[in-house]
């Protein structure tokens, strides 16, 4: 059986044109998907049943026992951390927020180690953005800054930018200019019409310089800024001002380097300035397929996109204090529920050392690095493959992912729903 227009649950592009071939209850082939998407659709080696660590052994347990353990762990904690969420659906994320609220815990999603800094910047200066189709149909200049879509969002160039023809661009490859700004050469820089190589840690200075040039103050600048000749910066500003519609896409090269969110703020303010001359937009290259959804859900339910601390009943937000890496590295939580992410693979060492010291439950289809630190792991269906639900694309467009496989695994939403119901029995009789 071939299922058309399937939504790929891998990255923030959320491509919805995938053809999936299912035979004998297994996905055997995909069409249109990139390497990343294909590997996810064809994934194997799922955990068979919930497991519990007993001393130096793993023991298989029932779903009920696993849920019991989770409930007790969460109710006992003074400051439970509920982390992950970006790899699951909005419906499950909503249950997570209700749970955090009732438990008086901290809920954070993977944006804190991804585009959390972009959100902090947006909270300072706003965000002139647009949907991806707006760029596809109109943009005659694209700037990729500190990102490498060929590796991280492989179809971004073909669906929306370099190779995508649109309403006002009949021959995209000819009519669009692509500028790539990065500290290193990459596959993406090879496709650029212009590559701006800057020294590591100099993004902020280069962005400030560009802003000054747009404002007509370029003559005050030194000859080189962050390894870039002033003439190249002038040329780029000239290209941008002449464009009819420009789009900046940025990645972790801006969010993770020194200055963090202030880099993004500077980039947004550059785009604000360019809007006085022509049309310009800027957007983050979001990683997980539904990380943006976790920001949306958290926002409408708590007012804040990530890093929300309900310890005092009301929602308190202060990334750097209420975000997962800080809480774990500072040992400020005493239990951790992990949903749809793998902090032991993706967090710095001190965080993992604390995970080893506190009770941990993970809800995830696969054994992963975090499994080693779990007291209990509960396997679930893979959202977007054996469970349907809502995901938000990197540009905020919500798309319903499909269920293409029938399996016996419960969904994240079902497991979390059971845990929440049990917590309600105790905390809200």
């Amino acid at each position: 059986m071939i299922i058309k227009d399937t939504v790929c649950p891998f990255c923030g592009c959320l491509c919805d044109d995938i053809e999936v071939t299912v035979e004998d209850g297994k996905i055997v082939a995909t069409d249109n998907a990139c390497t990343l998407g294909t590997s996810k659709f064809l994934g194997d080696h799922r955990m068979k049943s919930p497991i519990r660590r007993v001393g130096k052994e793993w023991k298989e347990i029932s779903y009920d026992e696993a849920i019991d353990y989770t409930v007790d762990m969460l109710l006992d904690a003074d400051r439970p951390l509920l982390y992950g969420w970006s790899g699951t659906h909005g419906e499950a994320q909503c249950v997570g927020v209700h749970m955090a609220e009732l438990l008086k815990g901290v809920i954070d999603n993977t944006s804190s180690v991804c585009h959390g800094p972009s959100i902090l910047a947006i909270q300072e200066v706003g965000h002139p953005g647009c949907t991806l189709g707006q760029v596809k149909n109109r943009a005659d200049i694209i700037i990729y800054w500190g990102c490498n879509p060929i590796d991280a969002h492989p179809r971004h160039l073909s669906r929306y930018t370099r190779y995508a023809n649109g309403f006002f661009l009949e021959n995209s490859f000819r009519d669009r200019k692509v500028i790539v700004v990065d500290v290193r050469k990459s596959q993406t820089t090879n496709l650029a019409d212009e590559f701006v190589q800057i020294k590591p840690g100099c993004d902020y200075a280069v962005l400030s310089a560009l802003r000054a040039i747009v404002r007509g103050k370029g003559d005050d600048l030194p000859r080189t800024v962050g390894g870039v000749q002033r003439e190249q910066l002038f040329r780029i500003v000239d290209l941008c001002k002449k464009a009819k519609f420009g789009a900046v896409y940025f990645g972790l090269g801006l969010t993770m380097t020194a200055g963090k969110y202030k880099n993004i703020r500077n980039a947004i303010e550059l785009v604000d300035e360019l809007n006085r001359h022509t049309k310009f937009t800027i957007s983050a290259m979001r990683g997980h397929y539904n990380v943006y959804g976790s920001n949306e859900v958290n926002t409408w339910m708590t007012g804040y996109p990530f890093g929300i601390d309900f310890s005092r009943g009301i929602a308190f937000y202060n990334p750097g204090e209420t975000t997962a890496v800080d809480i774990l590295a500072r040992k400020e939580c005493d239990a951790c529920l992990i949903v749809a992410s793998d902090p032991a693979a993706h967090f710095p060492r001190p965080c993992i050392e604390h995970l080893a010291e506190i009770p941990v439950v993970q809800i995830d289809p696969y054994a992963n690095a975090t499994t080693a630190f779990c007291d209990v792991q509960i396997p679930v269906g893979i959202t977007g493959i054996d469970a349907a639900g809502t995901a938000y694309r990197m540009d905020g467009v919500p798309i319903r992912t499909k269920k293409v496989l029938e399996t016996a695994y419960p969904s994240d939403e079902e497991i979390l729903g059971s845990v929440y119901a049990r917590i309600q029995e105790v905390r809200q009789p």
């Binding site: 020294k199 200055g259 303010e269």
Partner: protein
């Protein structure tokens, strides 16, 4: 005079933060039971501290609170304080002196992040180091500290005096990255070195007695001036931002 001594009792989970915005001179006048929070549990003050009160007072100006023991995870001490005195023997947790409008906080050791956040008046003295966002603002807000004085005798972390909109911040040691970023008004003085000061500055004054490493390219050099008998470089900016701030540095390097 009332003197309140708070000695931290040993804790089973010493790294779980305690939120104690109730520790201000004014709250001890009311005689009401004072509660603090450990994570999501509310506890009476004396479960966390051994409390000794000597003397009496009928206005906050006459109250002095002394904290001793491991207070490094006590958050929000002195929040909204308007008068009186808090003395902390050792280190203090985040958000000490948030929104403070009067009185004095003296910290013997180091202060954690957001010391004196959105402070409006009064004085904070920190003998050790202050972590990130000392005398800074809140997420998404346009104004950080608007009045009062913060004096750090050690070093400050990153984003010191971010969004400074009034008052004076003096750092005797070094400051980290992006000191005075988005500075609008008020004065920031750094006696040591720092990195990338005053990005996007729109007004106010920042004086750096050491070296400003990685100076931003968008500050226009106006000349030199003499301070304490030494020659300083004077800049105005940030010109990326129509800024009219004054940045005065002893010496600087660029990311070229």
């Amino acid at each position: 005079m009332m003197r309140v001594s708070l000695a931290v009792r040993p804790r089973k989970k010493p790294t779980i933060p305690i939120e104690a915005e109730t520790i201000t001179p004014a709250s001890f006048l009311e005689g009401a039971e004072i509660q603090v929070w450990r994570g999501n549990r509310e506890l009476p003050l004396d479960e966390v501290f051994a409390v000794t009160i000597e003397g009496a007072a009928d206005r906050p100006e006459d109250v002095e609170i002394v904290l001793s023991g491991d207070t490094s995870r006590m958050k929000r001490v002195g929040e909204y304080m308007d008068a009186g005195r808090i003395v902390i023997d050792g280190d203090i947790g985040m958000h000490c002196g948030n929104f403070m409008s009067g009185g004095v906080i003296e910290i013997g050791g180091n202060a954690d992040g957001w010391l004196g956040r959105e402070m409006q008046g009064g004085t904070i003295i920190c003998r050790g180091n202050a972590a990130d966002y000392c005398a800074a603002g809140y997420r998404g807000g346009r104004k950080g500290m608007t009045g009062g004085t913060v004096e750090i005798f050690g070093n400050a972390g990153d984003f010191a005096a971010e969004n400074l909109a009034g008052g004076t911040v003096i750092i005797h040691g070094n400051a980290g990255d992006m000191a005075g970023v988005e500075l609008h008004d008020g004065t920031l003085i750094i006696k040591g070195d720092c990195r990338r000061p005053c990005g996007n500055m729109s007004g106010g004054v920042c004086v750096i007695y050491g070296i400003a490493y990685d100076m931003l390219p968008t500050f226009r050099k106006m000349g030199t001036e003499i301070r304490d008998g030494r020659e300083f470089l004077s800049f105005t900016g940030d010109i990326a931002n129509r800024g009219k701030g004054n940045l005065i540095v002893k010496d600087c390097t660029y990311q070229d």
